[in-house]
Each structure stands twice: as structure tokens, then as C-alpha cells.
Symmetry: C2
Subunit: 314 residues, 2 copies
């Protein structure tokens, strides 16, 4: 297994420049202590996923890329691959679970991708089959060094904008984002602590890190959380990275997630999806479990159905 | 009358660095044409006003500043002066109209300022009296070269981030923001057009520019718009600047403002106050009145009462 290096992430930063937004760090004076948010919700597709997907497609050979790409995803990665393929002018097929939020599925179609809806468990095999049949390259949501390196560019930005950062909070689902951000932050700011954040109802990575081995949670369990972007679980590759770079994982309750979506709208003026609220929720509701100091909580995305937004604001 | 120069704005940019956020330009792919938003709603106090207020206070002599500052404002300028005074550790007294939104008044108090509530028409005389009695320096909301220069730093950022910009849309109230942004953009990008945007119900600057002289609208008329940050009217100083830098003024309806607040929440993931939505509303609903091309619409602020937000989202 090859670990992603800071050089990989620096190369990714060159590739995604002009496509991914260098999101600002926003000091939150209303919160106790010293909190900055990094609003990845403001990326072109509304989530950090653009970084990894674009980097992975940019890193392909010309011939491979021209044949097109295929991906499977419950939401934001689908949009990220569709967007990036369009940017390169190559075809994209996206396999989505039929349970995916309509907003994310529709947005994927708007980027011009072909969308194939299948039962949740069939996503990976159907994507693999499409790759074989049509000569497409699979862009996985997290289980790939180029994806991890792309996500890590957010960590480089944190280190550049707040070199004296003490603590970084990053959501964990498949673990690609936390892996990449962790590598970048630990390399550039060796004294900083990096904590993953999971919903209590999908805390497989937390249990896995505690046990020192990958523990599988049934999908039916993980599907309970409102944070629909955090229902995946790490692969061998990302788990090995998480073991190396995370100082711990904080778990947050559904109520904490919901309240934080509301707080971020009213105090931070950001529309955030439930998965995007988990890292700030950890800061606001689990202070005693964290080292404190200058803390950056990454807001991973902002794609949520309008009905859910009005419900959470009420 | 001394016109604000690009050097004044460059000096202001040095002063506000580290206090005002360099807000990113966010490409809006869902909108027709080529639209970028500049989300000044993400500034520490939720509006561009931090730029002018901080610059004006930073430009004071040490002795003057130490005695403290006084300001009058219906909202965001109040917070900006309170915030900036706190940053310098000097006292601030803010005179607010008793009709001001509670959210903005409370936020001003949270920054440690002394708040004095008076009837709308008494704001300026009461502030002047406090300045005399207590030796405070008045920081006006727009009628001052240092305030205009500070607001102009947003224009410098646009020119740096999108040098090939064709059109800039900036809201007009007292005219300080549009003056500063206009000077910076026209100097750095001479081919770019700069349009002001006003609510139809408070379109005094539009009428004034058309007539070639300052036309006063009764406050009772201007108070009708939901865009509570756009109820002021230009001074001689700002009107002279607007005459020089604006290529025109677009007026938007109340319905267009309301719909745009909703659209920006759902498509741009930004919580925006009505005044912050007028420039994007001009882009979305008055296309034929604009030259088109690469267009930046500035979102001036994001402070609105929670009840209004839920009403506009419903």
C-alpha cells in the first residue's frame, strides 16, 4: 500500500487551481473560543468532492480520459465527477442509489452526466460492469490515492491561511477527505491535532480506530443518520491513512447535527447540509473532548433538499 | 471636493488585511451566462461595512482614536464600527433608529458598544452631540473618503481575482460602497462596466443620476422596501463619485428581491439579507438592461431576522 504524500497533494493543488475555490477561513466570533469555518459548501458543486474527482480525472492519461469515466455515489461525488468530466469534455456515467436525495441526482443530470439508478447494494458492481463494457475509467469516491490527494488540497489551504492552527475537525465517511486533509495538515503544521467527526449513528470509523481494525457496520444502521454524506465506511487504503493521521474521532448526535445546521444558517450565514454540519457540531457540543486552541472546522457541503432546510430552520 | 483615488484604496487594503476577509468569487453555474457572486455576507460582521469602518478608524491619529468613536446606522455599519472599535480596544457609541432590526441592534451590543436608540430623524444630530460632549470621532456610514476607500477594497479584490471582468453589479444606498468599488474596478479594469442596483421603492440615486442632480426621496417612501440596508441616499460626496464611476443604475422589485433571497439560499448555499440580494436580482431579472459578459454581482450582507429567512424560504 502506497501512502499519499505531501508531494502528491501539492501536485493536486496545481491541477485543481482555477476549478476548486480556495475557500476562506471564516472566524466565528459568536462561538466560544477560537473557531474558524472552512466553507467547502461554496465549491462549484457545493462540496469538497470537486477537489478529489477533478484531480483524479486530471491525472488520467489523455486516451484513458477521452474514453470517459464512471462513478458511483450517493450524492456529492456524483456531482463532482459529472462536473469534472464536463470540464474536460469527456463522457461521464454516474451510478446512484435509488434512495439518493433528489436534489443531488437532479444536479448530477444538470452537469450532463448519464445517470443510472440502482438499489444501494448494486452500485459498485454495476459501475464495474459499465467500466468493462464501455471502456470507462472508474473514479471511486474515496478509495484511490489521486482522490485522497485531491481532497488534501483543502488541508494545504488551511496550513497556508492559518499556519498556527492547533486543531482541525474534518468529517469522516469513506475517509478520503480526512486522510488527505490529515496528511497535509500534519506535514505542514506538525503540532496541529486532526480529529475526524462522525454521526453517532454511523460511527464505524470511530469503532474501527478504537479496535485497531476495520469494523463493518450494516448499511441499515449507517442509513439511520440524517447526514446522508456520511454513510460510507473507510476502505483498507483510507483506514490505513486515518490510523496514521487522526488524533481521534468525535461522534455527534442527530440532534446536535440538526441544531448546528440551524446555527450555521443564522449565525454564519451558510446553508449547510447535515454532513457539512458535523464538524462544527463537534466543536460546539464536544468541547471537553477536544484540545481547543485555534480550531478549524470544515463544512464539507451544502446540498440539501429545500424542504429539509425549512424544517431545520423552523 | 477631493475624489478618492486608487492609492487611497490600496492604502486601505493594507489596513484591512487580516480583518476583512478577501471573499472569493463564486461561479454560479446554475445561472444563465457567466455569473460570479462575491459573498460579503461572509465578513466577520456579515457585511462589507467592516471594510470602510475599520479603514476609517485605522486611519485616525492615535490620540483621536483612543478617545473613542461614535456612529449612527440602521444596521450593518453599526456592527462594523462596534467590531472595529473593539479590535482597537477603544470605546464606541452607536446611535440606532428605534426601528432598526433587532438582530442588528443586538449584534452591535454583543461587540461591546454602547447603543443609543432614537427616532430615525434624530440619529445624525444625536451622534453629533455625543461627539462634541464626549470628544468622540464620528465615523459616518458613507460620507467620508476613508469609508469610501475602505469599501473600495472589495473592488480591488474583484480586479485581482477576475481581471477580465466585463460587468460589476453593486448595491447603492448611501453610495459609499458603489463609489469605492467603482473607482477600484474602473482603474484596474478600464473596459469593465459598473452598475449600481437599487430597490424600485428606494430609487432616489437612479432618479438623481438621470436628473444630473441629487433628488431627495422622503424617508417614508424609502422605508417601504424590504431591503433595509438600502434606505439611505447619497451625500454630495458620494453622488459626485457615483456620477463619475457608474454606467447606470438598475432597479429591482420587491418580488425580485424576495425570490432572489430564496434562490441564493437554495442554489448558492448563502444566507443573504434582502439588500444583499438586490445585485444578484438585477442580474437574474434585468438581463436585457445589462451588457452581459463575465459579471460579478456583489452580495453585500447576510444579516436578517430568522423569521424573515424562514418566511422567504417557504
Amino acid at each position: 500500500m502506497r501512502f499519499v504524500t505531501i508531494s502528491d497533494i501539492e501536485a493536486a493543488a496545481e491541477r485543481v487551481r482555477g476549478t476548486a475555490v480556495h475557500t476562506p477561513l471564516l472566524r466565528q466570533h459568536w462561538a466560544p473560543g477560537q473557531l474558524w469555518l472552512k466553507p467547502e459548501s461554496l465549491q462549484p458543486i457545493g462540496a469538497f468532492k470537486i477537489r478529489g474527482a477533478y484531480n483524479a480525472i486530471a491525472a488520467l492519461g489523455e486516451n484513458e480520459r477521452t474514453r470517459g469515466v464512471v462513478a458511483y455515489s450517493s450524492g456529492n461525488h456524483a456531482q463532482a465527477v459529472a462536473y469534472s468530466a464536463k470540464a474536460f469534455g469527456v463522457p461521464a456515467v454516474i451510478v446512484v442509489p435509488d434512495s439518493a436525495p433528489r436534489l443531488k441526482v437532479n444536479a448530477t443530470r444538470e452537469w450532463g452526466a448519464e445517470v443510472v439508478e440502482v438499489p444501494f447494494a448494486d452500485q459498485a458492481p454495476v459501475a464495474a460492469q459499465l467500466a468493462r463494457e464501455r471502456g470507462l475509467t472508474l473514479v471511486p469516491p474515496f478509495d484511490h490515492p489521486d482522490v485522497i490527494a485531491g481532497q488534501g488540497t483543502a488541508g494545504l489551504e488551511i496550513a497556508a491561511d492559518l499556519p498556527e492552527v492547533d486543531t482541525v475537525l474534518v468529517p469522516v465517511s469513506g475517509g478520503g477527505f480526512a486522510s488527505g486533509v490529515g496528511i497535509a495538515v500534519k506535514q505542514r503544521c506538525p503540532a496541529a491535532k486532526v480529529y475526524g467527526v462522525e454521526p453517532e449513528l454511523a460511527a464505524d470509523a470511530e469503532e474501527s480506530l478504537r479496535e485497531g481494525r476495520r469494523v463493518e457496520w450494516p448499511m441499515a444502521d449507517r442509513a439511520r443518520t440524517i447526514a446522508d454524506g456520511q454513510r460510507a465506511q473507510p476502505s483498507d487504503l483510507t483506514f490505513a491513512h486515518l490510523q496514521k493521521v487522526l488524533d481521534g474521532i468525535i461522534t455527534v448526535s442527530e440532534d446536535e447535527i440538526r441544531r448546528t445546521v440551524r446555527t450555521l444558517a443564522l449565525r454564519s450565514r451558510l446553508v449547510v447540509e447535515p454532513s457539512g454540519a458535523t464538524a462544527p457540531a463537534a466543536y460546539l457540543h464536544h468541547t471537553s473532548e477536544l484540545p481547543g486552541g485555534r480550531t478549524v472546522a470544515i463544512v464539507s457541503g451544502g446540498n440539501l433538499d429545500p424542504a429539509l432546510l425549512t424544517e431545520l430552520l423552523a
